[in-house]
Amino acid sequence: MKLFVQLAAVLMLSGWGAPSVAGINPFEFDSPEQEQRFKKLSAELRCLVCQNQNLADSDADLAVDLKNEIFSMLREGKSDAEIIDFMVARYGDFVLYRPPVKPTTYMLWVGPFILFVLGAVVLVMFVRRRNRDVLESGELSSDERRRLEGLLREQHDAAGGKRKRNK
């Protein structure tokens, strides 16, 4: 039993920690600058398997392969633009978290501004009309005045009646 516990302890110490540490940083960069470029590129490229993650955050098989690909291209001295082009040629603009401005993406880029302007126009129209309604209703029609007087009298009577009863 004691031997078993010792064995388990040895296994845990040796086997457990090592692979996860190796998993955190599998790449050995030539320079800190290269590492920065790697981080920037893998943060800007989308993982196609888990579409709401970038390559940096994803552990999907393909994401790991593509990160390896980026790493080896960096070591070959490829520029950032060349690496981005490599990805776009294979997977399309979809891999970019910042898609380029071109006819098929005009709506994507301009859409929010159009919506904002539309919203602003509707808001201004709404506020203006309400202001006008308030101004116009400054004068009561004779019908409205009669109703108002009726309501006031009712309220007055009700309040008066209460007071009498309280006495």
Binding site: L48, V49, Q51, D61, L62, D65, L66, E69, V88, A89, R90, Y91, G92, D93, F94
Partner: protein, 179 residues
Amino acid sequence: MKARYIVPLVGFLALVGLFMIGLGLDPREVPSPLIDKPAPQFSLPDLHDESKSVSTEDLKKHKVSLFNVWASWCAACRQEHPLLVELARQGVVPIYGLNYKDKRGDAINWLNRLGDPYTASAFDENGRVGIDWGVYGVPETFVVDSKGMIRYKQIGPVTEEALQETILPLIEKIKTEEG
């Protein structure tokens, strides 16, 4: 009815319409930039015989061919497999396989068990050729013509519906183009 009732109603109906269209789309289907582009060059060992190789040139030998990315670990490949076997039996179109990130033994066993529809299967052990073809989910199937142009890409398993409505008509069209 007054405009103040109609305007929100029209807006609401427009949104409903937009959502209905949106729900019908599959976000997993990313349009491939490779359509109507030359098929990426590759040369890989044959799955069954390491000494032989399978390359883009093999695809160009035919008027039209299918290039099917598959793996023994892929469940959806199993789903489409009977259709491919049937297609190969009828001799409609040669099917080339790209065995993607698989183990050779597993892949050969899989084919022995379920049938081998492939004229040849290229063995892409590390998935590097898959990256060149823009593969991001197995299975994927490409239609390639004799000039080596990719004419269509099926993402996900080939279904009876996709086969009848899209793939087979396209194959016929390419065959008549080539004359």
